[in-house]
C-alpha cells in the first residue's frame, strides 16, 4: 500500500468522527461543515467524502435536519446532533483516544 493510499484510507475512516465533532459545537449547515473540515490540518476533506457520511448519519438517526432560509443567500439544510448522535460521538471518541494512545505508545517504544 502506498503512502497516499494509506493516508486516504486513514482520512476516510475519520470523516464520521470529524463531522460529529463539528456538530458537537452546535447546529450548522453542510457548506460550513465541509469548509471547517477542509481547514483541518492533514484531513483535507471535500464534499464527496463529507456528504455521503452526513447522509448516512441522517438516515441512521444520528443527526436531525431542517431546511431554513439563510440570512444572505439560498436556503440551507441545518444539521444537529440527536441523542443517538451524541452517543455515537462519545463511542467514536473513546475508540479514537484508545487507538491513538496505543499507537503513540508503540511509536514511542517500550511497549509490546
Amino acid at each position: 500500500m502506498s503512502d497516499d493510499s494509506w493516508s486516504i484510507q486513514l482520512r476516510k475512516g475519520l470523516v464520521e468522527l470529524g463531522v460529529l465533532a463539528v456538530l458537537r459545537d452546535g447546529e450548522t449547515y453542510g457548506y460550513d461543515i465541509v469548509s471547517r473540515l477542509r481547514r483541518v490540518d492533514g484531513m483535507a476533506l471535500t464534499e464527496s467524502t463529507v456528504y455521503p457520511v452526513l447522509a448516512r448519519l441522517e438516515v441512521g438517526g444520528c443527526v436531525q435536519v431542517r431546511s431554513a432560509p439563510s440570512p444572505s443567500g439560498p436556503p440551507r439544510r441545518y444539521f444537529r446532533l440527536t441523542r443517538a448522535g451524541n452517543e455515537r460521538l462519545a463511542s467514536l471518541t473513546a475508540q479514537w483516544r484508545q487507538v491513538s494512545a496505543g499507537i503513540a505508545g508503540l511509536l514511542a517504544g517500550g511497549q509490546a
Binding site: 476516510k12 449547515y29 453542510g30 457548506y31 465541509v34 471535500t46 464534499e47 464527496s48 467524502t49 456528504y51 455521503p52 452526513l54 447522509a55 448516512r56 441522517e58 438516515v59 435536519v65 439563510s70 444572505s72 443567500g73 439560498p74 436556503p75 440551507r76 439544510r77
Partner: protein, 155 residues
C-alpha cells in the same frame, strides 16, 4: 433566465453524474440526502462568488469528480443484506425440492422456513431495492402454492 444555479445545464449534468455514481452504492435514502446536500452546497458556493464572471464554472471546477462518490465508500450493511435476502428467496425452492426427495412435509416446512427468513431479512433491508425485491418474491413464492392449493385442492 433563472437565478438558480441548479437550472444551469452544466450543474444538471454534474448532479446527474453524481446521482448515477451514488446509485451504485445501493442506499437510496442516503443517496437522496447526499444529492440534496450537494445541491445546497452548489447554491451556497455560487452565492459566495456573487460578482464573478462565471461563478458556476468556478464552483464546478472546485467540486470533486462525480466518480469520487462511487469510490470505496463503505457499502451499507443493508445493501448487502438485501442482496443475500433475495438470494435466500431463490434458495427456498431449491432446498424445498431437495427436501421433497425425502418425502413427507419436510419439503414444505424447509421451503417455508427459508422464505420466512428471507422475507425477515428483506424487511430489515427494506431501504434497498434488493431488500424490497426479497420481500415481494418471498411472499409470492409462499402464497402462490397456497393459492394453487386453494383453487385446485389436492385429491
Amino acid at each position: 433566465m433563472s437565478d438558480d444555479p441548479l437550472d444551469d445545464p452544466r450543474v444538471a449534468r454534474h448532479l446527474d453524474a453524481v446521482a448515477a455514481a451514488l446509485r451504485r452504492q445501493g442506499d437510496e435514502a442516503a443517496a437522496a440526502a447526499t444529492l440534496e446536500n450537494l445541491r445546497c452546497h452548489i447554491r451556497e458556493a455560487v452565492a459566495a462568488r456573487a460578482g464573478a464572471t462565471d461563478a458556476i464554472a468556478d464552483v464546478l471546477a472546485e467540486l470533486d469528480a462525480p466518480s469520487s462518490y462511487a469510490g470505496d465508500a463503505p457499502v451499507s450493511p443493508g445493501g448487502r443484506l438485501g442482496w443475500w435476502a433475495f438470494l435466500a428467496t431463490l434458495a427456498g425452492p431449491v432446498v424445498g425440492l431437495l427436501a421433497g426427495l425425502a418425502g413427507g412435509q419436510a419439503a414444505w416446512l424447509a421451503f417455508c422456513a427459508i422464505e420466512a427468513a428471507a422475507v425477515a431479512a428483506g424487511i430489515a433491508a427494506h431501504r434497498q431495492p434488493w431488500g424490497r425485491t426479497a420481500i415481494c418474491s418471498g411472499l409470492a413464492l409462499v402464497l402462490l402454492p397456497l393459492l394453487l392449493a386453494a383453487v385446485f385442492p389436492p385429491h
